[in-house]
């Protein structure tokens, strides 16, 4: 979609529509609605939004250890002396770190891959932060690696690939348990979920 597609709109408006349309999950209509909302927004709010976007681009960097988004390098989690430095949890995206931190059940370190192996989309292992993970593991202090990629085909493929690469370096490699979700109905469970739930059943 080009600026010409929004010719009836003034040039700055068309440019903003085009910019918003590039965001994930934002279609042409949503981009138009957001743009006209922003046009009507008080100037100080619009300026604050623009400054927030620029601040994110200027101040946010990748932690040289865990590859998570951070303002300081190393990030607060990597420098926290109370965290368990012998365990690393491998995740696909920075948002996954927030999800696990919310549980308050994990006190180890993280490693963010920034994606997942997706051969059909041309994304291989070299596009991910796997080399950085291997460098961290070469130190020999890590006792457990938790592979917490998503439980779908591409997440499983990535977990299998990393497992093969790091098995000589880490004594214990684990995968997050897969099974029935809280609030779900057994009758709607698919074959793989139900099979994994049975395989992972625990004594009461």
């Amino acid at each position: 979609m080009t600026t010409n597609d929004f010719l009836p709109a003034a040039a700055p408006v068309a440019r903003l529509i085009q910019a918003l349309h590039k965001l994930p999950g934002v279609g042409a209509k949503t981009a138009q609605r957001l743009t006209y909302y922003l046009v009507r927004m008080p100037e100080e709010e619009a300026r604050a939004l623009a400054e927030a976007i620029i601040a994110v681009k200027e101040q946010i960097i990748l932690c040289s250890l865990c590859q998570n988004l951070t303002e300081q390098d190393p990030c607060p989690i990597c420098t926290d002396p109370t965290r368990d430095r012998t365990t690393i949890c491998v995740l696909e995206e920075p948002l996954d770190v927030l999800a696990i931190e919310r549980t308050r059940c994990y006190a180890g370190l993280y490693h963010v891959l920034h994606g997942v192996i997706s051969p059909m989309n041309g994304i291989g292992a070299e596009e991910l932060k796997i080399r950085e993970l291997l460098m961290r593991l070469n130190g020999g202090t890590v006792q457990e690696l938790v592979l917490a990629t998503n439980p779908n085909l591409e997440g499983e493929a990535t977990a299998m690939y990393i497992h093969r690469l790091v098995s000589p370096l880490v004594p214990k490699i684990t995968r997050l348990a897969r099974g029935l979700p809280v609030g779900g109905d057994l009758e709607y469970a698919d074959l793989i979920t139900l099979t994994r739930a049975f395989q992972g059943r625990q004594a009461l």
Partner: protein, 267 residues
């Protein structure tokens, strides 16, 4: 003619792209309706009832709903997995091959063009990758069957230029010419690759026979390499590009050349 508002069909999920907050845009291969696009709403949430039935390379019984006039993009309103190919998905080497087959099927099938034999051929290939069969032979058989069913199979019995029968020895395969060339006609085509008698025999046999019959053929490693190079050249010419998944396929084969090198499942 307007389409029915709801269709019930079996389908294999070829692609799944993230859409919106928690939806996915699926590319499905069906026996009676060909390749279709459909949205699956809310399937990225852990509480989704449909999500587990719609993972990549899963064969499911689906209910697809269209808009009022039976037009627009279908929405998946019901799904039940028929075969999740669990053992295939737990083996990195087999999985890399299955993903390659999936991209091949996706690339060759136009939207809404039913090709039931091609669907059956894809399903049989996935099932064969779960068995201890020669997986490279599964790939070659599927490639040739797909070329045949989509009308791109090269001429293999006679020289494509002079139409003389192919005799043993000294022949070439030219993707640009669309078949085998005899030594006399070879100079006309710069892309012609030498093809051994054994390779030509295997290619002919795989193209003419079912997968189960093809898997009875015993192919040694040097011949496998020749067949892989020939088919890669043929497919690259036909599609005018390299398939994206070939890089992963080659990387896995190079890093872990033997099946026992790859762990079957993560701990």
């Amino acid at each position: 003619m307007t389409k029915p508002r709801t269709i019930n069909t079996e389908a294999i999920v070829l692609r799944a792209a993230e859409l919106g907050e928690a939806d996915r845009l699926l590319t499905l291969l069906t026996p009676a309706h060909g390749k279709l696009h459909a949205t699956a709403r809310g399937v990225r949430k852990t509480t989704s009832k449909l999500g587990g039935h719609l993972d990549l390379l899963t064969r499911s019984a689906l209910t697809l709903s269209y808009g009022n006039q039976g037009t627009g993009l279908a929405t998946v309103t019901g799904a039940e997995a028929l075969d999740s190919f669990m053992s295939l998905k737990a083996d990195l080497r087999a999985l890399s091959k299955a993903l390659y087959l999936g991209e091949l099927a996706d690339t060759f099938h136009p939207l809404e063009a039913p090709n039931p034999p091609a669907y059956t051929s894809f399903l049989e290939a996935l099932q064969a990758l779960e068995s201890p069969a020669d997986h490279d032979l599964v790939l070659r058989s599927f490639e040739l069957r797909l070329l045949d069913l989509c009308g791109f199979l090269p001429q293999l019995a006679r020289c494509v230029q002079c139409e003389e029968p192919v005799l043993p020895g000294g022949h070439f395969l030219s993707p640009a010419a669309g078949g085998v060339l005899c030594p006399a006609c070879k100079p006309s085509y710069g892309d012609a690759l030498p093809i051994s008698v054994d390779a030509l025999k295997v290619v002919r046999y795989l193209a003419a026979n079912s997968l189960s019959s093809s898997l009875l053929v015993n192919v040694r490693l040097p011949l496998h390499r020749e067949l892989a190079a020939l088919m890669s050249s043929l497919l690259r010419y036909t599609l005018e590009r390299e398939l994206r998944s070939t890089a992963f396929l080659r990387a896995i084969a190079q890093q872990w050349p033997k099946a026992e090198d790859v762990p079957s499942r993560t701990a």
